[in-house]
């Protein structure tokens, strides 16, 4: 008996998305193989490009790992964008306030500030959900808006580069202290300390989720809140913890975006994507594609990082807008979230040879009870 399991369906979903991308490239009058070549060249062509891909993947990994924590506790965190911004703002404020502190002190402080900023921004919707029954999808979206406007206000006013006040008024900070910059790891490449920090964070989250009592409680709350409550676990506290930790990791992504950037400034274009590069959303894609597992999110983020750097090269070489990468990300999400049901159907068909129509749309499904928290969270660490 053949059963379709594991990674085949998500990979199939990605294949469909890339086929769509190839079709787009054909529609734009280019050869898709040239396009693929350009993307691979852009993402992995030189040592520095591999480094750039890793740097591009870092915010996705941090946000994505945070998303896995939230999802395991059955809360949906759409507030990555706002939490990135909150972490970036607080860490930038620290770097602006004490720029001359030695690097050995300042860099850890800046990182801590990012964790705290993002953590607070994540814990707020956690508190609102746990104690006031406010839907976290909505509150995180609203807090994204608040964070963007807070950033606009601070960068146009209190935190603006003094030179810009009389100059062209670009909403950005001055160049931040070199003592706060994430050090370059390999000279001549863009690889900086943020990359290993993110990978270590992913491993720590894995250990936390699957090897500690805290992780057990978070997953228990996610799996069945009533049973968890009956077992004496505080559902409320764990919801706040899950969103707080999730936000803290996004805040760390904000630190990486500011203090790992070549310009070493926080700059806004009035929206959020100008600063975050939509990492708050793309991180969700990376986490989903990594089956909501912290360790699988590492290669998954790298894949999506390479999609982004590859798309930059695609634009340079073949004049195909790099927005293609974002569109493909969207398709991958749709394919991956749909794949559970497709897999059930395919397996059923393989098992019994029943026609598809018999299963559509509302047939009882004893193997697959309706899962409100959705997205087919894989059981355990396995």
């Amino acid at each position: 008996m053949t059963r379709i399991t594991g990674a085949i369906v998500p990979l199939g979903a990605a294949l469909f998305a890339f086929l769509f991308g190839a079709l787009m490239i054909v529609a734009l009058g280019e050869n898709p193989l040239d396009g693929l070549g350009a993307m691979i060249d852009g993402a992995f062509g030189t040592g520095d490009r591999v480094a750039a891909t890793a740097v591009r993947a870092t915010p996705l990994l941090l946000v994505g790992v945070g998303i896995t924590i939230a999802f395991r506790a059955s809360v949906i965190n759409i507030g990555g964008e706002g939490q990135i911004i909150a972490g970036a703002l607080l860490s930038t404020a620290v770097a602006l306030a004490i720029p001359d502190t030695p690097k050995i002190v300042l860099l850890p402080l800046v990182i801590l500030a990012g964790l705290v900023g993002g953590g607070i921004w994540g814990a707020i919707p956690g508190v609102l959900k746990a104690y006031a029954s406010v839907n976290e999808i909505l509150s995180t979206i609203m807090l994204n808006i608040v964070a963007i406007q807070l950033m606009n206000y601070l960068l146009r006013g209190p935190m603006i580069d003094p030179i810009e006040v009389d100059g062209s008024n670009i909403p950005q900070t001055e160049r931040l202290s070199d003592n706060a910059a994430l050090p370059t790891l390999i000279e001549g490449t863009r690889l900086h300390l943020g990359v290993p920090i993110a990978i270590i964070a992913a491993i720590l989250v894995y250990v936390m989720l699957f090897r500690t009592p805290l992780g057990f409680r978070l997953r228990a709350v996610g799996h069945n809140p009533d049973a968890a409550r009956a077992a004496g676990i505080s559902v409320e506290k764990n919801i706040v913890t899950a969103l707080g930790l999730s936000g803290a990791l996004s805040g760390l992504a904000g630190v990486v975006l500011v203090f790992g950037s070549e310009s070493l400034r926080l700059v806004t274009d009035g929206g959020s994507a100008g600063f975050t590069g939509s990492a708050g959303f793309n991180g969700i894609v990376a986490a989903l594609f990594g089956a909501l597992h912290p360790l699988w999110t590492i290669p998954s983020s790298f894949l999506f990082g390479s999609l982004l750097t590859g798309a930059t090269e695609l634009q340079r070489e073949l004049q195909i807008p790099n927005a293609l990468a974002i569109a493909l990300n969207g398709l991958i999400v749709l394919f991956v979230v749909s794949s559970d049901k497709v897999r059930t159907w395919l397996n059923r068909r393989l098992d019994r040879g029943t026609p598809f129509e018999a299963e559509i749309p509302d047939a009882p499904d004893p193997d697959d009870p309706p899962d409100v928290s959705g997205v087919g969270i894989a059981e355990g660490a396995s």
Binding site: A132, L138, M142, L143, N152, S278, S338, G374
Partner: protein
């Protein structure tokens, strides 16, 4: 600072507020229909962006506003079909599926814009009531009424259509068989199913209609602004989703929320351009609607109950 709070500034601000609120209103009305059937669509913003680009590009190429609007609605319908297949037939998690629709719309509208248009080219603006070809003359005396004319009669047809749709959607939801089915499958799909109402078909139709509203909302936005650019909506679609909760799933309260957003946006942009308030105050004011929405959600969450089956895929037992 001399014209602080003069009547004409206030009237102009209110008139702008009404115009600004239209994309929020249309998108939120559509989302209301979908949510009443038990399906959350977080992808409104992406659908709006595609609708906005489709309408903009059609007007740029053909010069016909009507055709642009039709294209915007058609794109909304198409995206609604995709979303309905994903969430109703494939029973995917709704919050995340919506993010997929959003990212696709964000990327694809930008891709098409860069490829087909490149640099932003303005299109001809939507005519206001008094400038409508042929019949505009009839409305001229109304527009000339001091203040009231500007406030009520100097809008484009889409504005009137949007506000006219508020009672229409209420009527459809509350008084028609289709509306009763929508509410039934949103409240208790098991019971509706046992009475012979097809849950899947009802949700499918509700989602598709709701998404068509989002396409129209996007078209309205780009035609009102007479321009398109990357991420034109800047989150309006996400706010529209929140407005449905804010408005407790009642079209008239959803409309109030849309007007609130329009009012705050119009006030800060208008007053900032008149130097009544500085940029900093405008940025802070821009946070206000989001914070008010959160506070409203806190107050409403324990008092108002949404459709009981919202976000829950239906499986027959």
């Amino acid at each position: 600072m001399s014209d602080f709070f003069t009547v004409s500034v206030l009237v102009a601000t209110l008139a702008t507020a009404i115009r600004f609120s239209v994309p929020y209103l249309l998108a939120a009305l559509g989302e209301t229909i979908g949510q009443r059937s038990g399906v959350l669509n977080l992808g409104v913003d992406g659908t709006m962006l595609l609708g906005a680009f489709g309408a903009y590009y059609t007007v740029l190429e053909t010069g016909s506003h009507l055709l642009g609007i039709v294209v915007g609605i058609a794109i909304g319908l198409l995206m609604g079909l995709v979303y309905a297949i994903v969430t109703v037939f494939l029973q995917a998690e709704q919050g995340i599926s919506g993010i997929g629709i959003f990212l696709f719309g964000l990327g694809f509208s930008d891709l098409l814009f860069q490829e087909l248009v490149g640099t932003p080219k303005p299109i001809k603006p939507l005519p206001t009531l008094d400038k409508l070809p042929g019949v505009g003359g009839i409305f001229e005396p109304l527009v000339d009424i001091e203040h009231l004319g500007t406030l009520l009669f100097k809008h484009n047809l889409l504005t009137y259509l949007a506000f006219f749709l508020v009672p229409v959607v209420t009527w459809v939801l509350m008084k028609t068989t289709f509306g009763m089915n929508v509410r039934a499958v949103g409240e208790n799909p098991q019971a509706a199913d046992s009475l012979g109402v097809s849950v899947a078909r009802t949700r499918f139709i509700a989602i598709t209609i709701g998404s068509a509203f989002a396409g129209l909302a996007g078209a309205t936005l780009s035609l009102q602004l007479a321009i398109f650019q990357h991420n034109l909506t800047n989150g309006i679609g996400f706010i529209a989703v929140a407005l449905v909760y804010f408005g407790a799933w009642q079209p008239r309260w959803v409309m109030s929320g849309a007007l609130l957003y329009g009012l705050v946006t119009a006030t800060r942009i208008k007053w900032q351009s008149l130097d009544i308030i500085p940029q900093g105050a405008s940025d802070i004011a821009a946070m206000a609607p989001a914070i008010i929405t959160i506070l409203a959600l806190v107050l409403l969450a324990s008092r108002v109950r949404g459709p009981a089956a919202l976000t829950k895929p239906f499986t027959r037992h």
